[in-house]
Structure formats: structure tokens, C-alpha cells
Amino acid sequence: MIDRKLKDNINYHTAKSVKECGNTKKVAMLLFLFTSPCLLKYTVTGKLKGERTLKTVVELQNIGMKYQSLNGEIPAVENINLKIYEGEFVSIVGPSGCGKTTILSLISGLLAPTTGKVLIDGEEVTGPSKKVGYMLQKDHLFDWRTIRQNVLLGLEIQKAVTSSAKAYADHLLKTYGLIDFANKYPNQLSGGMRQRAALIRTLVTNPQILLLDEAFSALDYQTRLAVNDDIYSIIKKEHKTAIMVTHDIAESISMSDRVIVLTSRPGTIKSVHEINFELEDRTPLKTRKVPKFQQIFECIWKELDVHV
């Protein structure tokens, strides 16, 4: 279903850009290139809006990852150098199989890189860390646990179920409207509520960094837009640094401060887009309505260079 939406998008956008740049005429093409937002190369510095110097939370140093199989080696990512700053929301987009999920697995410590280093707060990652919370594509709430028990899963695993931790879990459930469902089982909740419960499960262990791996792709489109807003506001409110992997260009622009575009396999960083629309009380939905949104969309779209 998502694929179809993507295709609709493709048709719409290619039609539009062909009309704009007059595909056949070289002059017009050049003109288009000069006006294209792609040419406004974004420089990446340690400074974001407001010129504050920000603390680097995650640093990827010359990361390379190869998977071994009987048929040979599969290089997933290569030469990735990236700094992510405190409180930032960064998205990674790229063609299928370009190693997006690999990057998250490397940051979370589930995988060790073949070359290079992953640093969190300046320390090298050697395994799963309490500083990092991971949200997967599906909510994976356990059927056999109530919502409260599900939310406490991470604490149980980390052997950190204290009365204050439980109180914090209840506080989060209350703040995000799930306290009435605390004793219900997951199948009694809607898709959006389940996703929120999954986020709370991650937040309860109080990670500094959230990794979102296609965290919304299992939801239908309407719910997805609503949940984007929902999760975005929760992440901002809890002052977390977030790194999101997605197929959805619009989703990445609407939620992020920076969008990182990867090349196809082996994935390397192709470009970095800083998204700064200077919106009051930014939400993903509001961001989608800014005119510049389309420009950036088309630009990233072209960079991804998808052939169907």
C-alpha cells in the first residue's frame, strides 16, 4: 500500500518537474538546476539555529560494515562520518537496502562495525547501552502482558523496577493518555495508541537517544500523520535526541532538523539537508504545509533517483 502511495507521489512529482524544467530544452534544464534547492548546499557545522554550540551526542567515525555470507561479502555501509547533536531530530533516508537499519543497529550496539568507531558521549559503543532506546517498525507489545507490564519490560530486563521507576511509568502513561488502558491488553488498543505505548516503553528506561526504525510504517496513512505529530511532540517534550530511519521522504522532512540522504548500497552519505522553516511551535503537520517543503521534497526525491 505504501508502495502505491510512493508511486503516486512519483508520478505527481516527475510530472511537475518535467513541466517546470522543460525536459527537452537544455537551457531550461540548466536554469532549473540553478534555481533548484539542491544547489543550496547545506554546510554542516556544529551550529544549528540560534548559533548555539551544541554538544555532540552520537558520533560515527569512518564507519564501514560488511555482512558475511556464504555467497560472499555484502558491504552495507561505507565511510560514514556523522555527528548528531543534543536534542536534534535527524532522519536517514535512502534507497532500499542501503544500510539505513544497519546504521541504527551500529549506534544501538547490536552490531559491531567492521571498520571505524561509534561514539556516544565520547565513549566507544561496545554493546547495547542504557543511553539508547530503540523503536522498531511494529510496536511489538507483548500480547500476554498488560500495557503497564509491557511498558515496564525494559526496566525488568535492566533489573531496574523500583517504585520510583514505576511511578515514572505511570506518569508517562497519564501524560500521554494511556493510564485508563494500563491494565488492558494490547489487542484492546488502536494502532496509534499501541505505538504510543511502545514509545513509552522506550522512554521509561530514560534513554538519551531514541532510534526510530521505520517506526510508523506499519500504520495506515491517516493514523501515521497523527502519530507523527504525537510522537514528535512527546520526543520534543522529553528533550530526547532522535535518529529516524524511514522510506518516507515527506515524513523525514516533516519531523527532522536534518535529513541525511544515503546512496544505494554500499550506503555512503550523499547529502545532508538542514530543515529550518522557522516555525512557531513546529509540528510535523505544520511543516508539511510550508511551501519550501515541496522544494526540499523534490530535491531529495531527485537525489534518491528511484527507478521503478
Binding site: L110, L136, Q137, H140, Y185, T205
Partner: protein
Amino acid sequence: MFKFRGSFKDELSLQTVSKEHQEFLRNVQRQKFLVRFTQILILVLALGLWELFATLKIVDPFITSSPSRVLKTISNLYLEGVLLRHIYVTCLETIIGFMLGTVLGTLIAIILWWSEFISKVAEPYLVILNSLPKIALGPIFIVWIGAGSVAIIVMTLAVSLIVTILEVLNGFLAIDKDKIKLVQTFGGTKFQVMSKVILPASLPTIISALKINVGMSWVGVIVGEFLVSKAGLGYLIVYGGQVFKLDLVMSSVLILSIAAALMYKGVVFLEKRLITTYRD
């Protein structure tokens, strides 16, 4: 199937009842009644015809027995004070074999899940043991262990263990890898993956293995009793067959089927208690 009907009705009762809906409910009720009625009718007819044919000597009651002779045999056995003992021996052997089969099978499945190496090494052996007719091992058990309940229980284990291992292991391997990844992202150990995800998520698989095991265990016990025993329903059947007392054979088969049905119901009850809390 019955579970579905139950929950379906519960949902309906919450809605406002329109005329069409009443009609629908009546139809459902009627259907249910018809099924039950036909089931009982078949039983009554079968028993009735059996009795009739035997009384009229259309069939030889010496060979076919008859319901009244079966009842008389059962009451005689009871009066002699041996009926309950035979039932007790067989049921005990079955329950022990059944429990052991399930527990050991699950434990071995856990070990095979834990170590890919052991699992790979064990694979051909499991395949051969699975396809081998376990009954062929009976004489070996008797010689090694001696005639008695222990040999019968081992026979039961032989019949049910391999199936349990394969069933439960497949259940373990079918669990969504991302559920395991979730536990790992929280820093979970392999033991925690087992205790927090694999085992609870496999509960339905384990229960369905239990259901298969009920049948398997009865097979194991009866075969075991055929081979060695001095007591039990299997013993009565073999003894009855040897001395041509078909009344005794039929009575034992009847008791056996009731006992097996009850045990199956017990597992279904357990399943309801353990699983339906979050399924419905």
C-alpha cells in the same frame, strides 16, 4: 470452533436487539441445537441397534458383545474391586508419561534453541527417531528396564517426546525476530530473551503440543501395557482378546475412550485458563 461461537455471542449481546437480529440469534440457536441433537441421536441409535441386533442374534453377542453386557461387565469388575485399580494404573501411567513428555520435550527444545551447534548436530538423529515407529523399541525397553510401569512410561515417552521437541522448537523458531531484537535493545541476555519472549510467546504452541501429547501418551501406555503389564486397561484389552472375552475388551475400550476424552478436556480447560485472558 466452539470458542469462536462463544465470543461471537458475547459481542452480539452487547448490541441493541433488532427484529432481524433476533431472527439471526434464533437461527444460530436452532443450528446449535440441531447439531447437538444429531450427535446424541447417532449415539443412541448406534447403541440401540447394537443392543437390538445382539438380542435378536442377528450378530453374535459372543463376538460383538452388547451395551447391556458391557454395563454388566463393568459393574462386575467394580464389584470384584478391580475396576478402579485398572483405571488408576493406566491413568497414572498416562499422566506421568504425558507430563514427562511435555516437560522433557520443552527442556530439550530449549537446549536446541539455545545452541545452534547442538541443534545442527542433533538434526539427523531427530529426523530418524521421528520417523521410526517407536513401538519397535518396546521389546528393548522391556529387556533393559524390566516388565512394569517404568517400562510403560518409557514407552510413552518414546512415543511423545520427539514430536513434542519438534513441535515446540518450531514454535520457538517461528517467533518474530524483532521481538527478540526488542529485548536485546534493552540489553537483555539470552536467558532473558528465553524467559521474557520465547517461553511466554510459545505458550499457545506448547499447549497445542500438549493436545497432541494426550493422544500420543495413550498410544504409548496402551502399547506398553499390551507388551508387559499385569494391570491396566491395556492389559484388560489384551487379556480379554486372548481369552475371547469380547465383553471385557469392549468395556475397557469404552472406559478408555471416556478417560482419554476427559484428559483432553482437561488440557482444553488449561488452555482457556492460560491463554484466553489476553486472546478474547
